[in-house]
Amino acid sequence: MTPLPLTDLRILFGLRWRQFRSGAVFWLRLLGYDAQASSWMQRVYVLYLLGIGSIWFFAMWAWGHDLALSIGQSLAPQTLAQLLERVPQAVLLLQTWAMMASLRSTPLKLSFPDMAWIVGSPLARSVPVLPGFIRQVLTRCILFGAIWALLTVLLRAPLAPATPLDSLRVVLVVALLVVLTWSLAWLLGILRLVYPQVSGWRWLWLTPLVLLPLAQLAPDQTLWPGRLLVLSVYDLAPLSALVLIALVAAGLVASFVILGARINMIQAADESAVYARLAALGLLAWRMPDLQLRIRLQQARAGQKPRLRIPSVYGKRAMVVRSAIAGLRHPSLMLVNALWGAGMTWAAGLILVNELPVPLWIGWLLIAGIAPPIGLLYTFRRDVQEPFLRQFLPLDGFQIFLADVLLPLAFLLAGALLAWFRFLQDLPPELFFEYLITGVMTIPLLGLLLALCGASAMTATRELQTRLLGTGASFGLAILASVLLGTPLAGLVVVCISIALLGGVLMQHA
């Protein structure tokens, strides 16, 4: 048998296309289009949707382009230099993560129907490998391609504005690097599935971390992909290097496809359990990131012994201790809180000091409102949104909030304050103390307000369930008060009033 029977491959690609189409039908139905109907009105409606979609896409892209351009023009030369210096390190980090992920769990992800019908069918075992790889690489190419198209505009702005051709060139290089990175990751992952004895090495997945210290010792050998990307932004990347990358990537893909014929599918199916559960949720998973997270955390905890014990404390103290232990049993969530706090503070500092355009503040606010760190209210959500559990908690909503949020908020504030102190190191001494005091006063209050906005959106009261409204109103009013009255103190007063109001809402409705 050849390593890749084309007839089987055609069948599987056909199946994947049907699956993609049925997913698309769901979204089209949401937009009012009935894929089953074949009337003229429906066809006209498709044209209308395409037109509106194109206009929206180009308008958004133009907005993003202008924003990137204005940020690039506002950036101080030393900030730009720092940014360029970090790019190769960021690329290496991503590559390391891709390899670790593949070594930890099968890169070939199987859904429950895949396990039932593909694994159990007479199709060659190498057949699911290629479509799986293509799907993963395509989504990453689109994501990183779009990011780098805009980054090219930003990075070239201080010299000469980028042309569409510049962005296109960088996107092509990005696509090459994505294929190279994930083909290497897949090869490692499939080697592990082919040789079961390798799977027994418990800490094998950590080995790619060696690359990080190695980057300090031998930067030329480890950081070259990122450097190549930076060079391509300024049209300095040698063509021969790109051709070489393409050849190496093709060789890697061929290798893992050939090896794919010997995959241990039982192991692949076993390691796909989380993916299969998420895939079973279908498009619901996109709308419920909390549920996704729960499934992942459950899988991580399965079979483990519990860390720490609830001590003999009673009443409200029992609530606080239980929430703290729940948080400490998910250290990754607490770490994400700290990183989120640090990242958002750093971004705010950059916008403030570089006097970047106002839309960036709006973007910052949107991120705070739409995507607060998921671990901040993880326990609180469970406490108030599951009436079965809520009936065992003899406290009002605000008390539960305080108990549940104490530890995650402490992590978030620690990250934010540390980032703020680090950020202030680069400022002139005369600004240092002014900014230090402002940060120490505002960061804890803003953190608490952010948590309260999210918590009030979890109450049963429908009017309060739009988190963005609460965040926009409370943070927006604070910014407005500061600007109109010319003092940050006015903003702080508004923040305090918002905290009191939202606390009352929780007391009454959670």
Binding site: Q298, A302, G315, F388, L393
Partner: protein, 271 residues
């Protein structure tokens, strides 16, 4: 347990008034899931809520527990109106849904520990161990409940509920996830708690063999179409002395009677 029954009403009526549901209605959009539901339950009564799928049994239990806000009517728990004294009234009621959720971070034992300690109770451990032993979960006490089967999850929820000793225990489909042996054991336990004064209202499509609740409430399309003790129902539904009184026969007879009689008569009978 009866010490807590309010002394404001007639002393003779007090045991009958532990739970009073009056003219309860609930709407999902324009669909009436419950309409004009009225009944009373006294201390130490075990009532079975019977009806077809979608009859409104779970909605009724949710409204009594305060999980859903009724669009009309009132629920009184131990003399207190649920709508006005929600927090106090809810302290006495626990509802076990058909698939109870748990904390992913806490083990089975820690769920009991947390429930007891957050209420400020000391020396609860013996009772906790006893409950886990009785419900066959003792060997799984250090496991996380998300790995439990549906039946085990229901048993753990039952242990949590019994640990906090509610005056009124509401159970949605308690026997569905359980194997026949566990169902029989649960019924014996429920009888024991009933004898200790706990009021139990459970919805079910099946009851263990020779299991007799004190009363039945038969529901259809959001209304109560029949209620009473087994003997009362046998008489009112026209079942002969030789007919076996099963949930199935009872429900069929109630539905037949509803079809054959004018709606107004049914409403009067339900009242």
């Amino acid at each position: 347990m009866n010490d807590d029954i309010p002394a404001d009403g007639n002393a003779d009526d007090a045991p009958r008034d532990l739970l009073r549901v009056q003219g309860l209605g609930y709407k999902y959009g324009s669909f009436h899931a419950l309409s004009e539901v009225s009944f009373k339950a006294g201390a130490g009564e075990l009532i079975a809520l019977v009806g077809r799928n979608g009859a409104g049994k779970s909605t009724l239990l949710r409204c009594i527990a305060g999980w859903s806000r009724a669009s009309e009517g009132e629920v009184h728990v131990m003399g207190q109106a649920l709508a006005e004294n929600e927090r106090q009234a809810r302290e006495h009621v626990v509802l076990l849904p058909d698939t109870p959720p748990f904390y992913d971070e806490l083990t089975a034992w820690e769920h009991l520990q947390f429930a007891a300690q957050s209420h400020g109770w000391r020396n609860w451990e013996d009772e906790g161990e006893d409950l886990l032993e009785r419900y066959g979960l003792f060997n799984n006490r250090d496991a996380f409940p998300f790995a439990f089967s549906r039946g085990m999850r229901y048993k753990l929820a039952m242990c949590m509920a019994l640990l906090v000793e509610p005056k009124i225990l509401l159970m949605d489909e308690p026997l569905g996830p359980l194997d026949p042996v566990s169902a029989d054991e649960l019924w014996i336990e429920l009888n024991r708690h009933r004898n200790e004064g706990m009021t139990i209202l459970l919805s079910s499509h099946q009851l263990p063999h020779e299991a007799w609740p004190d009363r039945y409430l038969i529901m259809e399309q959001g209304e109560i179409i029949g209620q009473g003790t087994p003997d009362e129902l046998r008489a009112s539904l026209g079942l002969g002395a030789d007919d076996s009184l099963t949930l199935d026969s009872m429900l069929r007879a109630a539905l037949r009677r509803r079809r054959n009689s004018p709606r107004s008569d049914d409403a009067a009978a339900a009242d």
